[in-house]
Amino acid sequence: MANPARHIFFAAACAVAIAVTLFFPLRVAAQDLAPPQGEVLLTINGAISMHNDAEAARFDRAMLETLETVTIETSTIWTEGVQSFTGVPLVALMQAVGARGDSLRATAINDYAIEIPRSDWVEGGPIVAYLNNGKPMSVREKGPLWVIYPYDTNPKYQGEVIYSRSIWQLDRITVE
């Protein structure tokens, strides 16, 4: 004959164990990003809540591709003709890293740096493009990442300030 109290205790202990076991790994997964597998294209640090390296979130191409994808058809003042750019909306990227700051500082491979205020992190706003006309961009072609605003569809994005924010050969972002 089984002791009912022992049964209840055991069940409870099992439940707690299961709950703890289940809950803890879930918490870790929500807070941190998976580490990049390929060549790191973009490093984000500063006021962010998601990391996959000490105080930083590093992204390879595959990680970027898993995020929300938007394609913008527009002309730019640096290229000829209408181009198609595909990439992660800046707002989605900032959400993905849990950015808390009011602006971000973007820096290029050639150390060109500019600030993009939080007001630009909106739907229909700029994207961090990783494809130009469906193809990855080399450094010679201002790749691998290029911040592109939808210049043609929104006239407010036709200005010197926006053009200066359209940073190419982007490789670092610091949220401030």
Binding site: S75, I77, W78, T79, N110, V139, R140, K142, G159
Partner: protein
């Protein structure tokens, strides 16, 4: 009329220019505004361009190319010492490559690329990049080996990079210069246009200000005019009534209130026709003189001024004169009427008309009385003179013979006076016409001297006549009037000369187309001051003259009139105490016709075979005288008392000749002659001698036309009568002239002259009114008269009364018929009932003729 319309057109004329000017200004301003808008658009686009700044930071990009090249060069140097830095070389190259690509491809650098100073280093750089790419993309070993060569190449190309970026910078400086310049130009142009716009606005403001002032002035003027007009209307003596197109009163001035007795409030909105005119006349006014009111049209010229009967609020009717016309204003058509109460004027006019008619009637009555009296006086005078002639056939002692002489001379003098008066009356009536027939001047002057000889002998004067210059016997003119004038002048000369000479001179003037007669005496003469006066009527200078002259004072007046009638002149020169010269110039054409044989008075009476004669004469005395004269010569005489009796005798019996008086009751001499000639009786072709006092030439012609063969004058002169009968006996007279047989001309029923005179005298209205009562009167009287038994004693007076009315209205035929009835009753002759009954028909026809005349008038 209130000149509303005229004012409008005048204003339109004067305001045209300012309005046009303002319009032009407005147009210009609109144009400027458009221009400014265009400019603003341009500037906005420029601003837009600036704000879009699709240039990025060009200078930075260019400078960056330099920096990135240097960093590539630096990396090359480092990599030669440290082969692990080859990746860095590659990265720097890629960055520089990317920069160059941007500069080569970017749209903002399009303009730079067209610049050869920029393009030349660019191609160098491009070939460097293209040749370097395989090394960079190649293996590390190859790249490492190529590093010294690359370093050399980059040192070579460094100048090109420098030139490239510098030329880009200067080109961009130029571009931004141009753009600035362009912007400045646009702004400048806009400033100019704005200035123009401002000026235009200023002009417009001035223009509007002037317009405002103008309209203010005009408004004041209109106000003043309106004020004046109001004063005029308020103070007018005539009623001024303004109605709308329907005839409802709009304005009613104080005079209208006074004349019609209504206040303005009472009169307003009432129908003018119903209010101001008698209700019984309203219809006839609407259909008659005011018919234009209904159609609301402008009255025609003859409708603008009318006389009409108006009525005031107390029912007093008065004649009014209306002047009316159509005016138009903003609220539609208006009638403006001036109404004047003309009752006083009418009364005055009527008074004047009555007074004038009375005066005229009096004057006419006097003239008529004069004419009738002198004519009537001649008949008994003729009787007296004829009887005196007959007395000479009887044995008379010395004393009786002297008395008879005196009686005869008195009678002749009296006849002369009567004839003078009759002549004057004829002149007054305008019935005198000059005649023209050939005569002998010598014989005429002989006759004058012969006639005056007894008087001259009495005054112991020597009387003679002579030609001055070449004589001319045959002349054509009015011998009778000329003789009358000369007799008058000679008579005067003889009368005022005692124991002196009276000489008549005759002288041809104007190549024989005029003759001057001068009667020169050595008598008492006339004072200078009196010379003009003596030719006036009834002028007898002074009592002594009048006494000596023993005349009516008409003689010279008549002489003057006769002379003027013949187209001549008469005048006198005189020296008191030494005598007078009366001259007379008359146009007399020389006659080509042979002169009639001279009647020789002194020849012994030819022995005539007794003739059977018919004397037709209404006057008993004349008849008696004629019978006595003729029977004394042994003729057999039958008497007829009027034309009809004469015709009856002539149809019944043969006579050798008929003496026919002209004016007779029942049937006059002319008619009787026509009847006799037209018939086939025994006397149809015997000579008929007219016995007439009126011997006007056209009358003589008329007698001859009627079938008379000869004429003698009345009173009958025994010698003349004997001569005429001698011509009959000798067969000298054409017994029966060939006459065209035609019906007697029907007497006119009415005398239109008389009617016209009446109408002119009384005015159409009064005359028409009188005529109506006349027609009514006779409509009643004539049938009554026709039905009256012929022996009733009041037949005569009744006929007389009607005849009087007929005379007034020119119903001459009826008057004559009535006159005959009256005469017959006076003479006690019974009137045939058929003659009375015939009056009805005559009246009916006269009535129609009268009405026809009235309609036509």
């Amino acid at each position: 009329m209130i000149p509303i319309r005229q004012d409008n057109t005048k204003e339109a004329g004067t305001t045209g220019t300012p309005w046009r000017r303002t319009g032009a200004t407005v147009l210009t301003l609109i144009f400027c505004l458009g221009l400014v808008s265009g400019m603003a658009l341009l500037v906005l686009r420029e601003l837009d361009d600036l704000s879009q700044a699709n240039s990025d930071n060009l200078q930075w990009s260019l400078a960056q190319a330099d920096v990135e090249f240097l960093r590539f060069q630096l990396e090359l140097e480092r990599a030669r010492d440290d082969p692990t830095r080859l990746d860095q070389v590659r990265r720097r190259f890629d960055i520089f490559y990317s920069r160059m690509t941007t500069l080569e491809r970017g749209t903002v650098f399009e303009r730079l690329r067209a610049d050869p100073t920029f393009d030349h280093p660019r191609t160098h750089l491009r070939s460097f990049l293209d040749s370097t790419v395989p090394l960079i993309d190649g293996s590390d070993v190859a790249l490492f080996d190529a590093l010294p060569q690359l370093a050399r190449d980059t040192r070579h190309i460094a100048d090109d990079v420098r030139t490239f970026s510098l030329s880009g910078l200067s080109a961009f400086a130029q571009i931004s210069d141009e753009r600035r310049q362009h912007l400045v130009q646009t702004l400048l142009m806009m400033a100019v246009v704005l200035a123009v716009l401002l000026a235009g606005l200023a002009l417009l403001t001035v223009s509007f200000f002037r317009l405002a002032k103008l309209s203010q002035t005009r408004a004041r003027e209109v106000q003043r005019t309106a004020g004046r007009l109001r004063t005029i209307i308020e103070t007018a003596l005539d009623a001024i009534v303004v109605t709308d197109a329907e005839g409802r009163i709009r304005e009613f001035n104080p005079a209208a209130r006074r004349i019609f007795g209504y206040t303005r409030e009472e009169a307003r909105h009432r129908s003018a026709i119903d209010l101001l005119f008698p209700s019984d006349l309203a219809e006839s006014l609407r259909d008659g003189p005011l018919r234009f009111l209904d159609s609301a049209r402008a009255p025609e010229a003859h409708e603008k001024q009318i006389e009409i009967t108006a009525v005031d609020r107390f029912g007093r009717r008065f004649p009014a004169e209306i002047s009316i016309d159509l005016a138009e204003d903003d609220s539609g058509r208006l009638f403006v009427a001036y109404i004047r109460d003309i009752s006083r004027r009418k009364a005055a006019e009527e008074g004047l008309t009555v007074a004038r008619d009375r005066a005229l009637a009096g004057e006419r009555a006097k003239a008529e009385f004069l004419a009738v009296m002198s004519h009537e006086m001649r008949t008994p005078l003729n009787g007296l003179l004829g009887s005196m002639q007959l007395m000479r056939d009887h044995r008379l002692d010395q004393r009786q013979s002297e008395l008879l002489d005196r009686m005869q001379s008195s009678g002749r003098l009296l006849l002369g006076l009567v004839n003078d008066v009759l002549d004057l009356a004829k002149f007054e009536a305008g019935k005198m016409r000059p005649e023209s027939r050939p005569f002998s001047l010598t014989r005429l002057l002989d006759g004058v001297v012969e006639t005056m000889a007894p008087l001259a002998a009495q005054n112991h004067d020597r009387l003679s006549w002579r030609w001055v210059g070449p004589p001319q016997d045959a002349a054509e003119g009015d011998a009778r009037r000329l003789r009358q004038v000369l007799l008058n002048l000679a008579g005067n000369a003889v009368k005022f000369t005692q124991g002196g000479t009276v000489e008549i001179e005759a002288e041809l003037l104007r190549d024989g187309h005029a003759v001057e007669f001068r009667v020169i005496d050595s008598g008492i003469g006339i004072a200078e001051a009196d010379l003009e006066r003596i030719f006036s009527d009834f002028e007898t200078l002074d009592s002594s003259y009048a006494r000596q002259a023993g005349g009516t004072g008409l003689g010279l007046g008549i002489a003057r009139r006769l002379t003027e009638m013949m187209g001549g002149e008469i005048g006198a020169e005189s020296e008191p105490g030494e005598g007078s010269l009366f001259w007379l110039r008359v146009p007399l054409d020389p006659s080509t016709e042979p002169l009639p044989a001279r009647a020789v008075r002194s020849t012994p009476r030819p022995e005539l075979a007794p003739l059977d004669l018919l004397v037709v004469e209404d006057n008993e005395i004349n008849r008696f005288v004629a019978r006595e004269m003729l029977e004394a010569d042994g003729h057999r005489v039958t008497e007829a008392s009027d034309g009809r009796a004469g015709v009856e005798w002539a149809e019944a019996q043969h006579f050798d000749a008929i003496l026919m008086d002209i004016s007779m009751p029942v049937m006059d001499g002319t008619q009787a002659t026509q009847r006799i000639r037209a018939g086939s009786g025994p006397c149809a072709r015997v000579p008929i001698i007219a016995v007439t006092a009126h011997a006007l030439p056209e009358e003589l012609a008329r007698f001859r036309e009627a079938g008379m063969t000869d004429s003698i004058s009345k009173p009958i002169d025994r010698a003349e009568l004997t001569e005429a009968l001698a011509r009959v006996a000798s067969g000298e007279l054409p017994a029966a002239p060939v006459v065209t047989i035609r019906p007697a001309p029907t007497d006119p029923l009415i005398d239109t002259d008389q009617l016209s005179t009446l109408w002119a005298g009384l005015g159409a209205e009064a005359s028409a009114h009188l005529m109506q009562s006349f027609l009514a009167e006779l409509d009643e009287a004539i049938p009554a008269l026709a039905a009256t038994p012929p022996d009733r004693p009041d037949l005569g007076p009744l006929a007389h009364k009607c005849a009087g009315s007929c005379a007034t209205f020119g119903a001459v035929a009826l008057r004559r018929a009535l006159g005959q009835v009256e005469l017959a009753t006076k003479q006690g002759t019974p009137v045939a009932p058929a003659d009375l009954a015939a009056l009805n028909d005559l009246w009916a026809r006269s009535r129609l003729a009268l009405e026809a005349w009235h309609r036509a008038a």
